[in-house]
Amino acid sequence: MIRQQHMTVVSQKEIAHRIFELTVEGDLVNDMAAPGQFVHVRVADSYEPLLRRPISVASYDKEKRQFTMIYRAEGRGTNLLAEKKPGDGLDVLGPLGNGFPVEEAAKKAYLIGGGIGVPPLYELSKALNERGIETVHILGFESKDAVFYEAEFKSLGDTHIATVDGSHGTQGFVTHILNELPKDFDAYFSCGPTAMLEAVQWAYPEKKGFLSYEQRMGCGIGACFACVCRTTKSETDYIKVCSDGPVFQAGVVIS
């Protein structure tokens, strides 16, 4: 069920340069169904900024009724979000969308993330590992000071880091790492910039893959037609990222 809830900030921490880890608490967490879902957050009780901001669920804990978001403070809204302190309220609409289908992985999965696309892969990796599936993490960042959750991912499986400027791990993009790795996995899951998703998709045309897309959003629940993409099915077919996605099987979305 989708709820709008005034949740409470439990903690907020800058875990990399302008990257914040924000944990909030409330009953809404009970309805979270799969890694890869997102929430639509109202950052201020003001008309400016007006719209909610879509942020992925990076991890959740139903027992504690808490979930964590990881986001980059970039524009007006996310910078305001970064000012929230423990005890503050936060208006959250969610959980939204359909997450990654963990049941589609059999033995070994590649989790490929770029920048602020990395966060949802964390809960995904935990879920896959719980099912006994081996996970390999290939994560790309701008530079060393933007890298986060390396240790967390390492504790769940092999983890490879690429940075654009080479200041940490391999220099270049995740695709540079992928080229070097064996193709011995049965499913891949990816989240990041659209260009990265495209590249990953092309790299493994024969594998089962699931990609999480981004689009500018209005409502976040499927009513406004802001976030549509055409699909490969037919000339007239389209999906809404917010309610049909954000995760889609590789090969479906025309981006």
């Binding site: 109202r42 007006l50 719209l51 909610r52 629940i221 406004c224 037609f225 802001a226 976030c227 549509v228």
Partner: protein, 304 residues
């Protein structure tokens, strides 16, 4: 007990609050959140003869206290709307106002004729004001003669009362309102969005793929309110007012300015429960202001 009911051509509204067209889809998504029967009415997304896929993305951009959209009338077409969306909405005891769009007069006539026969469609809202379709659309709303003729054509075929949705992007909105009144309109809905644009300061490029978009939200409320105030003094047609309504006091303002009912658009995205919340708060607020019914409030700004 405060009486919220409002009677308008074709419409017996439980209360004067309804979601605005394009901001509520065909109701399905919001039905997950609350019972749609609470609403005064529902203005569904624009329907065109054929299915439309709309504009490329990005289709929305945020602005100070507002947003731009250029959805481009994406909709499943007359067949899809009449075959599946409207029948699904029949489960709720709520009148539907069907928003009709097109490129030519024939388009409008075709959609109006057919969709007005749906059992739960109690009125049409003729969208002569959408800034996001390249041909047709916009000119209907900016020339009084064209607006009059379109109104007449639609009136001839419609089985239910016809409301014309006015564009704010005009020099003289009263002249358009009078023209559609002469054309036989049963009511007016206003305002649609103001034409606007946002650039990305880094690249200098328009943020919206369609370059320009329609500005909505609290930012436009002063313009909308002024136009409702003007039009309500110069025509006898009832008005469903909209433009930036976000809370109960905004709704009160539009009724005071002369609207008989109001629609809430963009605010649904900010607070998906905004319509039921306003409906819940309205009786208490009316009571505080010394009114026994919503109806008494209509046009009070003119009487002061």
């Amino acid at each position: 007990m405060t009486n919220l009911a409002i009677k308008l051509p074709g419409l017996k509204l439980k209360n004067p609050i309804m979601p605005a067209s394009g901001c509520f889809g065909f109701g399905k998504e919001y039905a997950q959140l609350y019972d749609l029967a609470q609403l005064g009415a529902i203005m569904i997304k624009a329907t065109t003869v054929e299915m439309r896929l709309g504009n490329p993305t990005p289709r929305v951009a945020e602005t100070a206290s507002g947003m731009l959209n250029a959805i481009g009338l994406q909709n499943p077409g007359l067949e899809g709307v009449m075959g599946s969306e409207l029948p699904w909405l029949e489960q709720f005891d709520v009148p539907i106002i069907a928003n009709v769009a097109g490129t030519t007069t024939e388009d409008y006539v075709e959609v109006a004729k057919q969709i007005s026969t749906s059992p739960n469609v109690h009125a049409l809202e003729i969208n002569i004001s959408c800034p996001n379709v390249k041909q047709g659309g916009i000119t209907f709303g900016t020339d009084p003669d064209v607006a009059r003729e379109l109104t007449q054509a639609v009136k001839t075929v419609s089985s239910v009362p016809v409301y014309i949705k006015l564009s704010p992007n005009v020099t003289n909105i009263v002249s358009i309102a009078k023209a559609v009144e002469e054309g036989g309109a049963d009511g007016i809905t206003m305002i649609n969005t103001l034409l606007g644009m946002r650039l990305d300061p880094k690249t200098g490029r328009p943020v919206i793929a369609n370059i320009t978009g329609g500005l909505s939200g609290p930012a436009i409320k002063p313009v909308a309110l002024r136009m409702v105030y003007e039009v309500s003094q110069h025509t006898d047609l009832p008005i469903i007012g909209m433009g930036g309504i976000t809370n109960v006091d905004d709704a009160i303002d539009f009724l005071s300015a002369g609207a008989s009912a109001v629609a809430v658009g963009t605010a649904n995205f900010v607070n998906p429960f905004v319509c039921p919340e306003i409906i819940e708060k309205l009786p208490k607020r009316l009571h505080e202001l010394g009114f026994d019914s919503a109806e008494e409030l209509i046009g009070r700004s003119h009487r002061l």
